[in-house]
């Protein structure tokens, strides 16, 4: 059964309400800085950013499915593709691409060349272990879990650490065959 053709990320992004990205970028930056002050350990900040992202991903998936006409992706490959091309575009206004598939199609990379989270950001020497954009890996993991795909998401490349792009490796650990294990209570 072929799903209804998903709407393009551009079309959805054009149709949703926008806010200026500076507010979002600076707010995220201020949160990261406050977490560093409160939690002290860089490792703990990475963990909490990922957790915050996870919670956001769990909630955003409904809006994503509703607005994108993506009814249900059963295939990991297709899902990764839709997240990168439609998901990133519709929320952050930037497109991402999917590359580096492994042979059995359970591991790939989502590559972002532009990322509004890091406008103006320069990591201080004291924060070299920080995964500044760790919220994004959490969002991807949380969203995928809501469509029954348990994944592990890790950073491979990070422009704040001098790389030429942001690259998130998404590894499928387990796919729960049920359609919707979590019922929406609305």
């Amino acid at each position: 059964m072929a799903p209804v053709a998903p709407r393009s990320g551009d079309a959805i992004f054009a149709s949703v309400e926008h806010v200026n990205a500076e507010l979002f970028t600076l707010t995220y930056g201020a949160i990261v800085r406050q977490l560093l002050t409160d939690l002290e350990e860089v490792e703990e900040v990475n963990k909490q950013l990922d957790q915050m992202g996870y919670n956001i991903g769990v909630r955003l998936i409904d809006e994503f499915l509703a607005k994108s006409n993506v009814s249900r992706c059963v295939d990991f490959k297709e899902t990764a593709d839709v997240i990168a091309k439609v998901g990133f575009k519709m929320f952050l206004g930037v497109g991402a691409s999917v590359t580096n598939w492994d042979a059995d199609g359970t591991c790939c990379s989502i590559v972002l060349e532009d990322n509004p989270l890091v406008d103006f950001v320069e990591l201080p020497d004291t924060c070299q272990g920080l995964y500044y954009c760790n919220i994004l890996s959490g969002v991807v993991r949380g969203a995928l879990e809501m469509v029954s795909m348990k994944t592990e998401v890790t950073w491979v490349r990070d422009m704040l650490r001098g790389d030429d792009a942001f690259e998130l490796q998404v590894k499928l650990l387990k796919q729960v065959p049920e359609e919707y294990p979590y019922k929406d209570d609305e």
Partner: protein
């Protein structure tokens, strides 16, 4: 040629100062910048006497010395920008354009979440951007 630029906080605390000369006159330039701060304060406190357009950020020529011309700019957040040049024939539009770009670079630098307000600007991106603005000074009024 621009020989020195500076950003100074509202308590006259230096946030960034950079000279662009081969000669060993950094100390002298820093002194000139320091002296210019008093002129800025005086201008702003007596706008009528100095004939300023009320509250414009661009303060114009602060004072000429034998070898230099010193210009100033004061933001709404009371941050001072100082420009020292050896050019004796400077177009007003070029100086305004310089300050506008310098200010924009500053605003981006302090938008870094890790920048602490009132502390010196150590960003390499900022330093590079300023050096490019200095290099292109007077070449064109566009941009």
């Amino acid at each position: 040629m621009i020989v020195c630029v500076a950003v100074v906080g509202h308590q006259n605390n230096p946030l960034y100062i950079q000279s662009f000369t081969e000669a060993d006159d950094a100390l002298k330039l820093h002194h000139i910048v320091h002296c210019s701060l008093d002129v800025v304060d005086e201008r702003v406190n007596n706008p009528k006497k100095s004939g300023l357009t009320l509250n414009e950020t661009f303060l114009g020529l602060l004072y000429p010395t034998e070898n230099y011309k010193v210009y100033g700019y004061l933001t709404n957040t009371k941050v001072k920008f100082i420009l020292v040049t050896t050019d004796l024939d400077v177009r007003d539009a070029d100086v305004r354009n310089f300050f506008r770009r310098f200010h924009a670079a500053y605003v981006d630098a302090v938008s870094n979440p890790f920048h602490v307000p009132g502390k010196k600007i150590t960003s390499r991106t900022f330093a590079e951007r300023v050096s490019n603005i200095v290099k292109s000074f007077g070449l064109s009024s566009a941009g």
